[in-house]
Subunit: 346 residues, 2 copies
């Protein structure tokens, strides 16, 4: 139908009774065209439904001003904060984000990476799925020198950059804090150690035990997907132990499973922190609502997103070279709340 | 540099010592090429770093297989669920999502809409910012018959579809439930009534009062951005009232402000629900963690995202005509929890 015909600069020229060359210069904001005429051209372009040729010019310039973002899941508090930070930074520089989620499966991650590659994104930002084991699916990017930035769940690669927090150090601090509160039997609710975030948190926990001359016991490393249900299951596991064998503290690699473990133990009559202390990770909204409030590790997803995108765009603009940096580590803060402060009954 | 040169079908042909025409047919999975040769072509394409020509062919077909998504804020529990549902549906049909956030400002929404238009998205999915007052910024889409789907925060438009929940009905049910529990002085924490979601919740609340012969009082309609701080401020407002003038129930248009209002009143010694009952909206994770658990309205952001995208893609594929439908209303369920059940002290 008629409305679907592409509006060209010739239509604008005819409409205003001026030359197409003037319209072209006007649309490019060329000062050779008077301010008034430029305004009239802009108004006519809008009125007639003219679409600027950024799309076609992308083909010529080989730049789409589009960044691909691959994440495990879109619906987590942390990931939505990262995306918010990325969008703000990209928008400021005139870049757009194309997003996709792997739903924690390597196979989906590969398909999404292929799509991003064929969509010709200028760069890729990726946080790895739960079971990704190689980076083969990113080879097309590396081969074409399309920059790849890993964030949060990263994998070392010679010509890529990683944006992370110091998970090892944060976990070491959480565990040391629990030990300082008098806890000696500390259970760790962890994730898949294939992913750096969970391996580093586990390692930090173990090193803190060692440095305080406390033995590590395999049975206190409870690995799961850290869901609400996993937190409840961990509580059942604790309740099944003989009272004398139970942990006196739980350090969970995320807040969700810490909170659901706490709720189940509270319902069973445990007093927190006196009977069992708790610490989580992420500073999710629920950590400030659970009673007693949950000790946790705070780090800004928004800052991580902002830094990942700014480094990528600076590389694309030639301001700095991404490949000369190996990794960027962001600050993470231990937030001590009532769930781990023994002897301070609220 | 050499690595950046575009790999063509001629490079693949040379590499395999076959004709470019065979490579082209093989890449298009044409059965005239043997399965084995197709496999060799696909492997060579991957090895050499060939990028398929979806981008260039988009220009010819005038379809980019890209949908624009404009939201107020990316970092909310509800919106991240919507995005997760949208991505799943789009991915299944071979479409990608470009996302942008208005940060609740009409001016940003306009700039983002312009960008999406010039990126030639095949369709637009939009939830309006807090202060958007016209749809002028979407005129270019309407003029070019690029389909627009409004979701959650919508605005009536002749040639667009809206995907919503029945906010009026849900609010009517929440308020009626509070009245049935014996509450007579019900305060409403609401949002900007410029947006349908907040106007409809307010209207449902008011109608339920009227149908139960309870007077509506302006002073009990407390309008804010419904943040954590706004919830705490609402509690201070209640505490400032003489005891005899205080509400005996609060119905908040979201869970965040309900929970923060509850926490401040609990800290001041109020017993919930006996002194004051509470109900929220959204079924956010915090609603299941606050004590007592919060009565709220549950509706699936993921389903809303899925339905919005499926309707848009079916229209684009010619399977159904979006413009013949006016709106799609999704189910919302009242979830009654302890915060509003009077006389049932836990």
């Amino acid at each position: 139908m008629a409305e679907n015909r592409e509006v060209t600069i010739y239509d604008i020229a005819k409409h205003l009774n001026i030359s197409a060359a003037t319209v072209s210069r006007g649309l490019n904001n060329n000062p050779a065209v008077s301010k008034n005429t430029r305004k009239r051209i802009a108004e006519a372009a809008l009125k007639l439904g003219y679409q600027s040729n950024t799309f076609a010019s992308s083909l010529r310039s080989k730049s789409t001003h589009t960044l691909g973002v691959l994440v495990p899941r879109l619906n987590s508090h942390f990931m939505s904060s990262v995306l918010a930070g990325m969008e703000k930074a990209a928008n400021k520089h005139g870049y757009n984000l194309i997003i996709a989620q792997s739903l924690e499966e390597a196979q989906n991650e590969k398909l999404n990476a292929d799509t991003m590659f064929n969509k010709r994104v200028d760069g890729l930002l990726i946080s790895l799925s739960y079971d990704t084991r190689t980076l083969d699916h990113l080879e097309p990017f590396f081969k074409r020198n399309i920059p790849v930035v890993f964030f949060d769940r990263v994998h070392p690669h010679a010509s890529s950059i990683s944006v992370v927090i110091n998970n090892y150090d944060a976990a070491y601090k959480v565990t040391s804090h629990l030990i300082e509160q008098g806890c000696r039997r500390i259970m760790h609710l962890g994730g898949n150690v294939l992913r750096n975030v969970y391996k580093d948190r586990f390692d930090g926990y173990r090193q803190a035990l060692k440095d305080h001359d406390l033995p590590f016991q395999e049975k206190w490393h409870w690995v799961s997907a850290l869901s609400e249900e996993d937190g409840t299951a961990a509580a059942s596991h604790i309740l099944d132990m003989p009272a004398s064998k139970r942990p006196d503290a739980v350090f969970s690699a995320n807040d969700t499973s810490a909170v659901y473990c706490m709720m189940a133990l509270k319902a069973a009559g445990f007093h927190i922190p006196d009977d069992i202390a708790f610490a989580g990770f992420n500073n999710d909204p629920i950590s400030k609502v659970i009673e007693p409030n949950l000790t946790t590790v705070d780090y800004s997803g928004e800052t991580m997103g902002d830094i990942a995108v700014n480094n990528l765009i600076n590389h694309l603009k030639g301001v700095s070279n991404l490949f000369s940096t190996n990794s960027i580590t962001l600050r993470a803060n231990l937030i001590i709340r009532a769930s781990s402060l023994k002897g301070s009954r609220q």
